[in-house]
Symmetry: D2
Subunit: 330 residues, 4 copies
Amino acid sequence: MLKIGLLGCGRIGQVHGRTIKRMEDARVVAVADAMEASATAMAAELGAEVRAVDAILQASDVDAVVIATPTDTHFDLIQSAAQAGKAIFCEKPIDMSVENIRVCLAVVEAAGVPFLTGFNRRFDTNFASLRARIASGAIGGVELVTITSRDPSPPPLSYIQRSGGLFRDMMIHDFDMARFLMGEEFVRLHAFGSSLVDPAIGQAGDVDTAAVILTTSSGRICQISNSRRAAYGYDQRIEVHGSDGMLRAENQLETTVELATAQGFSRSPAQHFFLERYEAAYAAVMRAFVEAANGTAPAVPGIHDGLQAQIMADAAARSLETGVPVDLPG
Amino acid sequence: MLKIGLLGCGRIGQVHGRTIKRMEDARVVAVADAMEASATAMAAELGAEVRAVDAILQASDVDAVVIATPTDTHFDLIQSAAQAGKAIFCEKPIDMSVENIRVCLAVVEAAGVPFLTGFNRRFDTNFASLRARIASGAIGGVELVTITSRDPSPPPLSYIQRSGGLFRDMMIHDFDMARFLMGEEFVRLHAFGSSLVDPAIGQAGDVDTAAVILTTSSGRICQISNSRRAAYGYDQRIEVHGSDGMLRAENQLETTVELATAQGFSRSPAQHFFLERYEAAYAAVMRAFVEAANGTAPAVPGIHDGLQAQIMADAAARSLETGVPVDLPG
Amino acid sequence: MLKIGLLGCGRIGQVHGRTIKRMEDARVVAVADAMEASATAMAAELGAEVRAVDAILQASDVDAVVIATPTDTHFDLIQSAAQAGKAIFCEKPIDMSVENIRVCLAVVEAAGVPFLTGFNRRFDTNFASLRARIASGAIGGVELVTITSRDPSPPPLSYIQRSGGLFRDMMIHDFDMARFLMGEEFVRLHAFGSSLVDPAIGQAGDVDTAAVILTTSSGRICQISNSRRAAYGYDQRIEVHGSDGMLRAENQLETTVELATAQGFSRSPAQHFFLERYEAAYAAVMRAFVEAANGTAPAVPGIHDGLQAQIMADAAARSLETGVPVDLPG
Amino acid sequence: MLKIGLLGCGRIGQVHGRTIKRMEDARVVAVADAMEASATAMAAELGAEVRAVDAILQASDVDAVVIATPTDTHFDLIQSAAQAGKAIFCEKPIDMSVENIRVCLAVVEAAGVPFLTGFNRRFDTNFASLRARIASGAIGGVELVTITSRDPSPPPLSYIQRSGGLFRDMMIHDFDMARFLMGEEFVRLHAFGSSLVDPAIGQAGDVDTAAVILTTSSGRICQISNSRRAAYGYDQRIEVHGSDGMLRAENQLETTVELATAQGFSRSPAQHFFLERYEAAYAAVMRAFVEAANGTAPAVPGIHDGLQAQIMADAAARSLETGVPVDLPG
């Protein structure tokens, strides 16, 4: 039985807590949150205790921590947890600063603790199946990856302002997915973006519509596009073109019902947003963490993967600013 | 160069005439129609002469005839054409009376002329492909065939009144398709029907919504359903379930465009009606006739197939009337 | 907090037990099973006690029972539970004998306890959405319902032998669905069936491939077809044709991934069988029961619905035997 | 009756000649080709005369010319034809040199003759419908256009070598489509490309896999990707994301047949290549030319559209070479 400390009881912390509650071989023994009411409610629901963060990090009855607190707290928490020998699950982004992530990486590696970065989309049934089929050779060599990601509607402006920008907040998932599927690191990146959805987003210094092209040293290409708006629901599609064929993962719709009228054949909208669309992926990534913490499976995606995605997000922001492509470090 | 006499220059006669005009190895040399203006216009368009029907049947420069006249003229035309040694293409239904068709069959067989019944759907790309894949063993043994056929809207009541009823006018195509796909004759049939689309159709003694179940001696089952109404266009679908899988042919839509909005994902309506949906099939069935007339391919579907479909339509009408299943002659 | 006694800890009993475990307002307090090991394991998992069936039925700390025992025990359990004033959830079929169900119905009505029949498919997201859209008038008046249900592979012969036959074991779900969607009772039924999948099923007196046509007094038609075999997974589709359009619910596939190669475009098989396909429906039907037991929602489908479906299954068996249609009681 | 001179009787010249043969209000009166046998055969098929190119350009019985000769002859032919007052249809690309096209444009405008550039894809039913729905406001303002174009297999190396390169030979269609759909001129372009399909293509100085990003001054974005290889047939898809929704045009498959087996649900490959896929579009673009020549419809896409696409292709080649974005002339 893996004993887990849950740091952060907000929306995502609750998702992780409930996932662990359904497991036979893990349980949350302690929770912490800056909001006392949140911590208390979560503790009651999970049959856990409310404790201070430091107490959890030092507790001898805690084997692993799930870090679901605001991003700016990750830096300290990761180091303390690693030094205390806890297995670590950390929500993305690990930190807004690539330098900070490098520091964490060094500490984690020195401590030798399992570390899993919360790129839950790798565990989505569709995307995982897509990658497994690439690996099995179903489409030969990968040549062109196209990733489409659109939110149903933009977040509040207050969120945008502290998000680090679209590339670090939203496209970072797609950067990780691009690496996951391409099987070769990218060497160059060019980003394009504009504010078409809401001028206030542009005034806040961010973009709401963006496209990035990535290339590898062997000449493979990845196209990513993002929008903060999609009338038809959360749009999450991937297409991989290879020498012997193509694989694509379509959206999950709300139902399989189709209506036929004089206007044509109409199916349901896409599942609304990430909590619905990636419900199973959230459960699967936590399952992977429990296994990594138990030492029965490798900790992938690791802190290195979180670092690479952040490097790419930084590069995209710089490319957008300068209007020219940016080389990625080898 | 096959020289063809076109008997009947109405809607379907025009389709056949234009198909032949595009061929390199066949041409319409003479046309006839009860409406002189129709014959004259068709002759001009095809570069053919207007002649009397009898003159065409006896002409030495006519190798083959395409019979696209009203059903009640088929009986005499077929016999005369066969006795004159012409290859014969005849639109379905061959005749409203099974006895008359048997008479024609005897005359045609005695004359030894090629005879092709205009069941054009056998030549539809989708259905022909479906059958070829059954024949190649893609789904193992056929167990259950489901045929759905719905017109976009009912024909005028005047047409209904002289049509012979839904089973002989509309479902007859599906009876032929059922035989085409099942690969085993049916031994029993039960028909159900009602007038849900327009009470006037019921008052005229016909039905506008119907379902039939057919069985073979080995226990295979076919379900056919028809409606004289479909808001979303001409609905023409087939599904064949076998021991190793299922094959289905879906509708052809007007375009491949899909619109995604808050209401969901919407595609185009089905192609409106038979002239659009079966445009290529009309060309293919006439191609098959030219080859049969030239002796380079067998004449299939033949007059026997037209007879079997009419027997099934009669049986369906009787089953509907009596409320019990009807045995089909062996 | 609704306190529930779980009678039967087999496959379906476990599904229901685990569903209740995730609820905030209900819990299983006691379980019973003829196999002591099953009862003990389930009790441990749910934090419940193992008790004798009679003890559960009489317990003052049990508000409701979930009956998931073999069918032949339902008759006694329902009556005892009703007389003890418990709310009752009973798996389908309620009983193999229509007469027995009538007895239960009388007892349940006399006792005035909520009774929910486990027709979980009514709670499937797709089918529930389909019905809601019919009710909203999306396709006008319903004219023709087509239900396709195919198992991935036949059950063991031993199961077939005690199942009551395909109509009572498998098609009973479709009979309930037909009533759910048509919105008008059926007055006549004709059943066709054969043994194409496995001759041993035929030798056991059952069929493995079947089609039924049902009609209402206003002339509406329903086609149901069943097969005990489908190479491509559990095939569960419904189509409803109406005066203004058509609604159809397609299969749920394992993933949304499509592979394109020289052979064409290939998607995943359908979800394998009922535990995967109806996972959410099982949760939803139990949710409906808890609400019915609490008196906050009507108990639908009720015992009357279970009775009607059984009457239809009996009629189908009789129709198949006699080869003629059977009138259904008004 | 529009009298047309057909210049060039190769593959595309034949397509245009046969299209005109089916028209009631236009006919080919004269044909020319550098290969005498080609000209003679085409003349016989169309009932036209073989004449010298100059004779056709000066003939008083020729109202319009269709230029389907090799690209390097277009420059002279266009000028001569314009000066002779003929309406002009010219296959793309108009010329490999933007300067030459500007010269032609000046001559054509001075002569005041109708000129239609053979961007047939604008006339494809799907893409034309897609654009009409954008124009009708179905998706609000256009924000992001994604165009995917993949050939089934690369052309012979000899063709590659004289083709002007992928951007001028293949992606030029997509540049025109991007302008057609975006409704705003592009101001900047960045091209990426590699040789992944065949190293010989790279050695010939060309790419076989490419992606381009285009932006407008208002910040709208277009992504185009091309590959010279697609195992599953000719891949021609377009997606347009707007403020109120998304429109996408999918591939046309060979049939509507779907096979379901243990491996899943499999549909036909895409139509093989451009002659099948754009058969109807070739007929429609020639119809548009006849109407433009008759003065009953505007000549769109005109020579200006051909010029713009060539400017974009040149810019793409330059961007690929330099590795940085290129500004497009206003």
